[in-house]
């Protein structure tokens, strides 16, 4: 029983079709203003897009074609807003009890206390929101959201207001709670690491459109377009021409501005066709570090600049054959001799063939080729 969402609207611009699988944690990731929160509010019934349909299994919550618009209380949802939105005049217990007004007064307290215990905030029942830390407020908000035993839990950037160590605890809490409840969870976030840690399904959205959706590891490993790759924070996105396919070695050969690159076989593209390709900056390695400078995918470049972040060197390279472009490399500073990496020095790097992902060409503006730094 998946959650099907189709929303269309002019302002904010939205034209989105999502399928949130039942019982899984699905992250919706996109930059600010991409329509994440609007989509969540449309599912919750807090906002009505000009047209669309929201259905959970056979239950239709919103359907402009048939004039259906259920109130939030008639949808089996629990919502944890970004800033928790606890009722400031009520205690933690009062906040959770407020979600149980449909029950007789006598049974509310026991259920609310059970939810607070489940969210690991037992003992703080009598405290007001201002007397709770950020993490405790988040747990109370979660308790309030789950006390009605919703089938769908909607979380709007619920970890953005807490410090890093609290966030790690809360990640574990969410996974544990999800394991216990088994409900469908939609997590709206702009933090890719958070999405990768928590969700088994990932939807990338931008400018109100779905860019890519699928199992999290699949989306992270294989962006389908330069737009998706950019949302996944890839810096090495380029355009090349297909030279041909090597069917024996199951490889596709690309011509990237005169540089020969081999990639895993992708027979969607015929020789002569243009395609976009991406490689993670950790898969660009100094050729000397991995053996003699021979073999596939060697790129002779000049070091443009270097930034040291912790134990890692972030190196920007200008390929000799295509100096207008920038190739990004991230390498442990212990993996390369100190004297070998300095701005202006030549460096031959190897692009791991199996790590190159080929993609359908999108708008020119989406590729790194068009934005040389």
């Amino acid at each position: 029983m998946s959650l099907l969402v189709h929303v269309r609207h002019d302002r904010p611009p939205l034209n989105l079709r999502l399928e949130i699988p039942e019982g899984a944690i699905t992250s919706v990731v996109g930059p600010s203003g991409s329509g994440k929160t609007s989509t969540l509010r449309a599912i919750a019934g807090l906002w009505a897009p000009s047209s669309g349909r929201v259905a959970f299994g056979q239950q239709v919550w919103y359907d402009t074609a048939n004039g259906i618009r259920l109130a939030p209380r008639d949808r089996s949802i629990g919502v944890v807003p970004q800033r928790y939105a606890l009722f400031p005049h009520l205690t933690a217990l009062g906040n959770v009890e407020a979600a149980l007004l449909h029950l007789p007064r006598a049974t509310r307290r026991a259920q609310a206390e059970a939810a607070l215990t489940r969210a690991h905030v037992a003992g703080l029942e009598g405290r007001y929101p201002h007397e709770l830390s950020g993490g405790q407020q988040q747990r109370v908000a979660v308790a309030r959201a789950i006390v009605r035993e919703p089938r769908v839990l909607l979380l709007d950037e619920p970890f953005s207001s807490v410090d890093r160590s609290t966030r790690k605890h809360l990640y574990a809490e969410l996974k544990r709670l999800h394991g216990e409840l088994g409900c469908t969870v939609m997590l709206v976030t702009h933090d890719l690491d958070e999405a990768a840690l928590l969700s088994s399904y990932l939807c990338l959205i931008r400018r109100g459109r779905l860019v890519q959706a699928g199992p999290t590891q699949g989306v992270l490993a294989r962006p389908e377009s330069a737009e998706a790759a950019r949302l996944l924070d890839h810096a090495n996105i380029f355009r090349a021409v297909v030279s041909g396919h090597d069917w024996d070695r199951r490889q596709t050969v690309l011509d990237w501005h005169g540089i020969r690159l081999v990639t895993p076989l992708d027979d969607r593209f015929a020789p002569g066709q243009r395609m976009d390709w991406v490689i993670n900056h950790t898969e660009v390695t100094p050729a000397d570090a991995s053996g003699p400078a021979s073999g596939d995918n060697l790129v002779r470049a000049t070091i443009r600049d270097i930034v040291t972040l912790g134990d890692d060197l972030h190196v920007r390279l200008a390929p000799g054959a295509a100096p207008a472009f920038t190739l990004h490399m991230k390498v442990s500073r212990h993996a390369v001799p100190h004297q070998a990496v300095a701005p202006g020095l030549p460096l031959t790097v190897r692009l791991t063939p199996s790590a190159i992902v080929t993609m359908t060409p999108g708008d020119d503006t989406e590729t790194g080729d068009r934005h040389p730094e």
Binding site: P72, F87, L101, H130
Partner: protein, 224 residues
């Protein structure tokens, strides 16, 4: 001391408060939570009694309630009495000239509530009515208290509209403000002074108590 006039003023203020406060809260909530074109026109209309000379407002109300108007004729056909120069007419006029005092403080207080909190209430399964009673009004309580006090105190002291609509009929429409005017015109300075002092004390105590309560509530909320 004209005790009849004092009693009448307190009764008028009580009725006005009882009828207008729910209407004021409903209008305030509508204005605080809705966005539509023409909202500023409605807000302007509601605020009109603040800037309009009371005699002008009283004149239009007198015309509207008079025997030649359809409202006046309708009221007379049902009750057998005229609306103008009656206590009922006075209550109606009082409701209108107190509208800004009843609406604006509540509207400002409701507008100050975080919209996320209101939406959280809806997501908790509350109806709009439950959200109002359990979340919005407890949070907007200082505004509601201000509205009640301003409406009550303003009704006690209103002169121009009451004179135009109610005339000055002892026991029926002569309020304490009119009684003070009468006594002053008759050079009965002692009675006028006593009633003025009573009105001053009553108004001051009411407003001081409301400010004190609001301050205490706000301090408690800030601590939260």
């Amino acid at each position: 001391m004209d005790w009849d006039a004092i009693r009448l003023s307190l009764t008028l203020a009580g009725w006005t408060l009882a009828i207008l406060l729910p209407i004021g809260i409903a209008l305030a909530r509508w204005l605080a939570t809705s966005h539509f074109s023409g909202r500023s026109w409605i807000e302007g209309l509601l605020a009109l009694p603040l800037v309009l000379p009371p005699t002008v407002l009283g004149y239009y109300l007198l015309v509207a309630m008079g025997g030649s108007s359809s409202v006046g004729q309708w009221f007379q056909a049902i009750t057998g009495t005229t609306l103008a120069f009656s206590f009922t007419g006075l209550v109606l006029a009082s409701l209108l000239f107190n509208l800004p005092f009843a609406v604006q403080p509540v509207q400002r207080a409701l507008e100050a509530i975080d919209p996320d909190v209101r939406e959280a209430a809806l997501c908790c399964g509350m109806t709009t009515w439950q959200t109002l009673l359990r979340v919005e009004l407890p949070l907007a309580w200082p505004g509601v208290l201000s509205a009640a006090v301003l409406t009550f105190a303003h009704t006690l002291g209103e002169f121009g509209v009451v004179l135009m609509v109610g005339g000055n009929i002892p026991g029926e429409t002569r309020t304490v403000a009119l009684a003070i005017y009468d006594r002053a015109q008759s050079f009965d300075q002692v009675a006028a002074g006593r009633m003025s002092l009573l009105l001053l004390t009553l108004s001051f105590v009411t407003i001081a108590v409301s400010y004190g309560l609001s301050d205490r509530l706000l301090r408690r909320r800030r601590r939260r």
